[in-house]
Chain length 397, copies 2
């Protein structure tokens, strides 16, 4: 969820540029209210309060199948889809079913902090591959795979947020996706495609998903309603090979608890089927694009030339590389003293020191004024650090 | 969730004595509706739709702390409590954090089928200890622990449903609980107390929980609203040592997804805080006791003397031991032909053949008439099997 503490824990009056949350004012609460009001008179209301089908809400599965057909020309049968309790549930389930302690998985450097945390909890061996502006560097991945193969290690999976990556906002280039699909076949690993930001795009087209490129083979793709509808409903989906979906659906966890929250899933299903979905997502794209533009303009205005940052085409995040003369720790201390909070780059690396000059800024959660003033504060601190760095240097000479 | 398939999968016109579900007519849907109607005007509505605190709904934590104080004189600080997505979530989390592939855990024989399934998915080594009418046989547990110690194995935990056990309905005797607490200290294992049926009791008093007996040391206790309020809301709780709760709350899964479904948890919290809780639970006890009485009367009326069954003082289940002359497989085939479905005993044992003459009957889900007629059908089939068994024997002689 990308908060050092929950929204409840946000310091009053602070500017939480660390929060990978949807903006409160973009949560479609009044629509949800209308939908909930109509649930009580539906024929299935009792079912929504009892244990649900392990595969999840059927209406929502059908909606998702139709939408993937419509948006990506992907023909996904029901047996390839299941509803899950947010993409978190998917990452956990995949981790526990596909890998065990000591098993190797590939991740980007940097990669999504909380996913790394889940992998560490499961005692996996994390192999981080560097990325550049086009996403993970395929030559480096191939070299690593060869090295691993030479000591008879085969990664169980490669975990990636392919679109508007968390934390960098970078989208993985199409030709790299194809090359990685080829590598996954050659080296026998699964691609776990955590595609949670897909719907928050500011461009018309995205590269095809790994799932599309591989024709569904050996890819597990995750989606979520947390970034578009409401994280508090905890509903997402998983697409994968029929036998893998079946294995998850018939697992002990699903047998015991039933499918993802039946009541919440019904609300999401009704939202999607109401015809409001596309309009809602279009509005989000506009609104988050405004925020992205505002953040980029603020960065352009206040940052020194030696700072660098990404210009994401969707999602929630901008990745900022600090000048050599200031570390993220120094910046963090001073920024917090001025009530500005961000996500230190160190949390996103398997080797935290690799992120010593990086930070993630979220433009999704705070109002535009706070976004501007928070970034202005960071710019001022960074420029101040340059002056004191220079004066320290000149004193030493 | 104890269904071979979901309620949606129940064959129309059949009698699903296998379903470990609350009765549809006892789900307090109209009350939930009233509570949801008032959520929209509350000051916190936005928070319910964003990521929630990892520990879960604070109001619900406070309610549970107060209720354990009131009902059991247990003083549980907030740091010992967390809200989870049903007890399933708890069993999964405990499994993955406390044990890994090849690790030993102790379970009852028989034990809850879906928990065994989760442990098998995690590739645990299952050591099953026989039970009798007082629950698990402590001497057998101690012998097993000594045997394991002699090969330097220490179980990570003992999993038990202490009250009205699933599948037998048996309540573990007080002195055995104390003896097991002593063994857990001597042999260094955790007790996982899955106390999901506690509130559905037909007697005034229950033995103290493991958590109470051990003064909170080395015990993880699970509770749920699935058996009392609504499984579809997927909300339960975990009580344990502060350091273990902290470890769970700060795990990757909770950091990524936030706490248990904020929207559903708020509904449950409002239900509990509304003052309706005790009255609702009292009603459930009456209603499920009626069903239990009905089932026992039906069994008394139709079963042959050589069948035996438990007389549970709460919960959802009766455990039936068949006469030697009929196996559960034979009964199952014939019963299904007459549209009566039950849970075969074989699923509840680590060694399925140990359950070849057992079955679990759920009295919670089906209406009284179906309960009577379903049990009558089983009695008729069993008696019929005796006659054909006798005639086979007499032909052989």
């Amino acid at each position: 969820m990308d908060l050092q503490s929950s929204p409840q824990g946000v310091v009053a009056g602070s500017i939480p540029l660390f929060a990978g949350h949807p903006a409160h004012e973009l949560l479609p609460i009044s629509t949800v209210r209308t939908l909930v009001d109509s649930i009580w008179s539906g024929p299935d209301v009792v079912r929504l309060f009892n244990y649900g089908d392990e595969q999840g809400n059927r209406q929502l599965i059908d909606f998702l199948a139709a939408r993937h057909q419509q948006c990506e020309n992907l023909n996904i049968g029901r047996e390839h889809l299941m509803i899950i309790g947010g993409s978190t549930w998917g990452v956990g389930m995949i981790t526990h079913h596909l890998a065990g302690p000591g098993d190797t998985v590939l991740v980007d450097a940097p990669s999504y902090r909380d996913a790394l945390h889940i992998f560490r909890d499961a005692k996996l061996d994390l192999q981080a591959i560097a990325i550049d502006d086009g996403g993970v560097i395929v030559d480096e991945m191939e070299r690593r795979l060869r090295d691993l193969a030479s000591v008879r290690r085969r990664p169980k999976f490669y975990y990636v947020v392919p679109n508007f990556q968390n934390p960098t906002g970078i989208t993985l280039a199409r030709e790299r996706r194809q090359a990685i699909v080829d590598l996954s076949k050659e080296y026998g690993f699964v691609i776990v495609e955590d595609d949670v930001y897909r719907d928050i795009r500011f461009v018309d087209d995205l590269p095809p998903s790994f799932y599309a490129l591989s024709r569904g083979e050996n890819v597990l793709r995750l989606g979520t309603f947390s970034k578009t509808l409401a994280p508090g409903l905890r509903i997402g989906w998983l697409i994968g090979p029929a036998e893998t979906v079946k294995r998850f659906v018939t697992s002990g966890m699903l047998r015991m608890g039933g499918g993802a929250n039946p009541f919440a899933a019904a609300i999401v299903a009704d939202f999607c089927s109401s015809g409001r979905w596309e309009e809602h997502v279009a509005r989000l794209r506009n609104q988050y694009k405004l925020r992205r533009d505002c953040a980029l303009a603020a960065l352009d205005a206040v940052m020194p030339d030696s700072a660098r940052w990404t210009r994401p085409e969707g999602g929630y995040f901008i990745w900022l590389q600090l000048p050599d003369y200031v570390t993220v720790d120094e910046l963090e201390g001073q920024a917090q003293a001025e009530n500005v909070y961000f996500a230190s780059g160190k949390g996103f690396f398997v080797h935290p020191e690799d992120g010593a000059h990086h930070l993630r800024l979220s433009f999704s959660y705070v109002p535009l004024d706070d976004l501007r003033s928070g970034i202005a504060t960071l710019g001022r601190i960074i420029k101040g650090a340059r002056r004191s760095h220079r004066s320290r240097r000149s004193r030493r000479h």
